[in-house]
């Protein structure tokens, strides 16, 4: 099983990686099943045509809901690993860290019957223009295709995160058929896409529904469900009603009271999945000696003031994860920290020691309005220990603009669902110059460039672990939770696919989904 970062400068490890990749990626003979039945998914968000083309993968998780069905990648997050060999059966890194070679599996074909070749991989990489494309392309010197089964990426400089960005944090590794795209053009491709995924395109009505049909020659296995329909139902209550009536088999995003209702309904199953979005408190004035937040004890007091489990129970029925970190637990180089403990007395004691006996007026608590309910709950907890703040919910775009422009003061309730690994998250939120870093700590800053050039994974992991521990010691952030995404599953579904891929909140891999009646 290949895992990100298994690439090192040591030949022994490279060989081991290749061998493991081979083992995990061995083509399983297709099961002797004939796909049957239909699964209808009630989707909470509008389906966009751009999601049919991996070249335009935006920096959000949602397009992967479609891509896992229609397309396939050289390697991608799978139940076996993150990433896991897919169209490539293995990969290896050059000893100098300047090249990565992928061996494509034989027998993988597109929906039109054409084999997946190295030319398709190179073509797909070259036409990729989605999230992080500039970052990836400026570091890749060339892509070579010595033969139809081999692709070699040559980098300008050693880049330890190449595999992460190529296979997990972007859509650059998802493969489209070169001949077909060149023949029909980009616009026509979006209207009738052909991929190498487990499901073929049947029809798409923008904003309404996408209909897919099982591709029986899919290399991993023949899908069990004949037809999958992704139907947009924007209203949460209507989605639940449709699930109750059996009009749909899966309903994405059912929250709070409606989730409780779902849980109470016989025959329906609640399926929470935890994504890659930790929510946290941030204190932008912690570097200002005149601010109360300058004193670490004050910041630490908020950590003890929050009643994590009660908030979690009330808002996500206890399914969010209390990790104590701003790095998602499914990220590479994530370091597990001691989970925070609710201890209001300790919080009051810390405040008193910091000279704030009886508390203080903390100004504004600024947050994204979509999660103002979390803010209200946290504010109540803070007020209970004496930290009095006013909730300032802002519309999402305004919130992130102000946050990024470093306009906010007092307390910020932030979140990030961006792709990457621990290093990329630290770069944006912790290290000097980060988009959302209002200040930084020199001892953390000086470690960052060291890990960025360290090709030995073990050594790099050690540096990143140290950074995360220092971050925790400084109480630069107070993590609230890693948010759970709650969905509902109807009685016809046997294997829904939820939770099979760690950190992926939608149902996948599609070829693993089964119906009871099928």
């Amino acid at each position: 099983m290949a895992r990100p970062g298994m690439f090192t400068t040591r030949r022994r490890d490279v060989l081991a990686l290749a061998a493991l990749g081979m083992a995990a990626g061995t083509v399983r003979p297709a099961k002797a099943v004939t796909p049957s039945g239909q699964l209808t998914v009630g989707v909470h968000i509008t389906l966009a045509p751009t999601w049919l083309d991996p070249a335009e993968t935006a920096g959000i998780i949602t397009p992967f809901m479609v891509m896992y069905a229609l397309h396939d990648a050289v390697a991608k997050p799978m139940p076996q690993g993150n990433p896991s060999p897919s169209l490539a059966e293995s990969w290896s890194a050059g000893e100098d860290g300047l090249s990565y070679e992928f061996i494509l599996r034989k027998g993988a074909v597109f929906h039109n019957g054409d084999p997946v070749t190295s030319e398709d991989v190179k073509f797909s990489f070259d036409r990729y223009r989605g999230a992080a494309h500039a970052l990836i392309k400026e570091r890749v010197e060339s892509v070579e295709t010595p033969d139809p089964q081999r692709v070699v990426f040559k980098l300008k400089n050693p880049w330890p995160d190449f595999i992460t960005f190529y296979t997990v944090a972007s859509g650059a590794g998802w493969v489209v058929p070169k001949k077909y795209v060149e023949k029909v053009g980009d616009d026509a491709f979006k209207k009738a896409p052909i991929g190498a995924g487990p499901y073929k395109f049947v029809s798409f009505t923008p904003g309404v529904e996408l209909v897919l049909e099982a591709f029986e020659q899919y290399w991993r296995k023949t899908p069990s469900v004949k037809r999958i329909v992704l139907r947009v139902i924007p209203d949460e209550s209507t989605r639940l009603a449709a699930l109750k009536r059996g009009e749909i088999d899966i309903a994405y995003s059912v929250r709070a009271e409606l989730a409780e209702e779902l849980q109470r309904t016989p025959g329906l199953t609640l399926r929470p999945t935890v994504g890659s979005a930790p929510y946290y408190l941030y204190f932008p004035e912690q570097w200002d000696p005149k601010s109360p937040w300058y004193d670490r004890r004050v910041r630490l007091s908020t950590k003890y003031a929050l009643d994590y489990n009660t908030i979690n129970q009330a808002l996500t029925l206890g399914h969010s994860h209390i990790t104590g970190s701003i790095i998602p637990e499914n990220f590479e180089f994530y370091e597990k920290l001691a989970p925070p403990v609710y201890d209001p007395d300790k919080a009051k004691q810390l405040l008193a020691e910091a000279g704030h006996e009886g508390g203080f007026d903390a100004g504004f608590y600024t947050c994204d309005v979509a999660y103002a309910n979390l803010g209200e709950a946290a504010l109540n907890n803070l007020a209970a220990v004496g930290i009095r703040a006013k909730l300032r919910p802002l519309e999402r775009a305004a919130f992130f603009k102000g946050y990024g422009d470093k306009k906010f003061k007092n307390i910020i309730q932030g979140a990030s669902g961006a792709f990457g690994n621990a290093a990329t998250r630290l770069q944006e939120f912790v290290v000097k110059g980060g988009v959302y870093a209002y200040g930084s700590y020199p001892e953390i800053d000086e470690l960052f460039p060291q890990q960025a050039v360290e090709l030995d994974r073990t050594k790099r992991a050690a540096i990143l672990t140290k950074m995360q521990k220092l971050l925790d010691e400084q109480t630069m952030y107070v993590s609230i939770w890693q948010l759970a995404f709650i969905s509902g599953v109807g009685p016809r579904v046997d294997q829904s696919g939820f939770g099979l891929i760690k950190g992926f909140v939608y149902t996948a891999p599609y070829e693993d989904i089964t119906l009871k009646s099928a």
Partner: protein, 306 residues
């Protein structure tokens, strides 16, 4: 007459120009669409790439100039979210909206006009009070609430109707009722007041003095004249039903223009919002222009007015 039409046409074009200016700048006040197309915490490079892709990095006046230039050519621009021409999206959704609006309008007229007449004829009595209550509920109950109650009752508990979507006549019943009810109340109120006005006029009194039967007085003499303002309002309402049935179409997942507008607003898809507002505005202006011209043909005092 030509001068009158030319003057009205000029006003109409000026209205549309002002509308284009208003909507163009209004949507931009709402914030940066790029922020909604990436995950929180996305890099500045990704956001800058989106700005460049959609031309949002250009000065506002340049963006407006291009928008108007394209509009004159019949090009409403490309949707940020769908990456599809706005006109194509609009035309794809239009048949669904026309269907929903037609049924909802038929319902609203079939219910609103008879109840309005009944309330006017029985003014101050039970039917008038019942009509007033109907109008009060119709105008004050939000359509999302009506929609959700209907889904709960007819889909979840009784299982008679599909909860959402489109494709069969059964799918149409609940959204048409939820949309039409508000307008039925509005038509009922106007019919009632218009009928009351006509019923108090001299020629209706004369008809009664001549001993004509009540049904003939109401049906032939009063109703025809009272209907003119109701039908004028119905024309405008039909345009609104087609273009801004946002809540009903969202609750029932009805794939019409109202839902497209909702999606456009949700994703700050400027070209979509601009396109729908301009199309809706053009329809309203066209209906008003038509009504003005018809009035002018009927009544010479209007066209000779300076």
């Amino acid at each position: 007459m030509r001068q009158f039409i030319a003057r009205r046409l000029g006003y109409s074009l000026l209205s549309l120009l002002l509308l284009s200016l208003t909507i163009f700048f209004f949507v931009r006040v709402t914030g940066d669409p790029a922020t909604l197309l990436v995950e929180p915490g996305a890099s500045e490079e990704d956001i800058a790439a989106i700005h460049q892709q959609f031309g949002l990095d250009r000065p506002l006046w340049v963006q407006y100039g291009l928008f108007m230039l394209n509009l004159v050519r019949g090009d409403f621009g490309q949707s940020f979210y769908y990456q599809t021409p706005v006109l194509e999206l609009y035309m794809n959704r239009l048949p669904n909206s026309l269907l929903l609006a037609s049924v909802a309008m038929a319902f609203s007229l079939l219910v609103g006009i008879p109840t309005g007449i009944l309330a006017a004829v029985r003014v101050g009595r039970f039917w008038d009070s019942a009509g007033k209550l109907f109008a009060l509920l119709g105008l004050s109950l939000p359509s999302f609430f009506v929609g959700l109650v209907m889904i709960l009752l007819f889909s979840v508990y009784l299982g008679w109707l599909p909860s959402s979507g489109s494709g069969t006549p059964l799918h149409l019943i609940m959204p048409a009722f939820a949309l039409g009810w508000y307008f039925a109340a509005s038509h009922m109120r106007l019919t009632r007041s218009s009928m009351l006005e006509v019923l108090g006029s001299e020629y209706v009194k004369l008809a009664r003095l001549k001993g004509l039967p009540q049904a003939l007085v109401i049906g032939k003499h009063a109703f025809k004249n009272a209907l003119i303002p109701v039908l004028t309002l119905a024309g405008i309402n039909l345009v609104l039903m087609i273009n801004v049935a946002v809540v009903v179409e969202t609750v029932f997942a009805w794939p019409g223009i109202g839902r497209l507008l909702y999606e456009g607003i949700s994703f700050r898809d400027f070209p979509v919002v601009q396109g729908i507002v301009i199309m809706g505005g053009t329809m309203i202006v066209a209906v008003n222009l038509l009504v003005d011209v018809v009035y002018a043909v009927i009544d010479p005092r209007i066209r000779l007015e300076k």
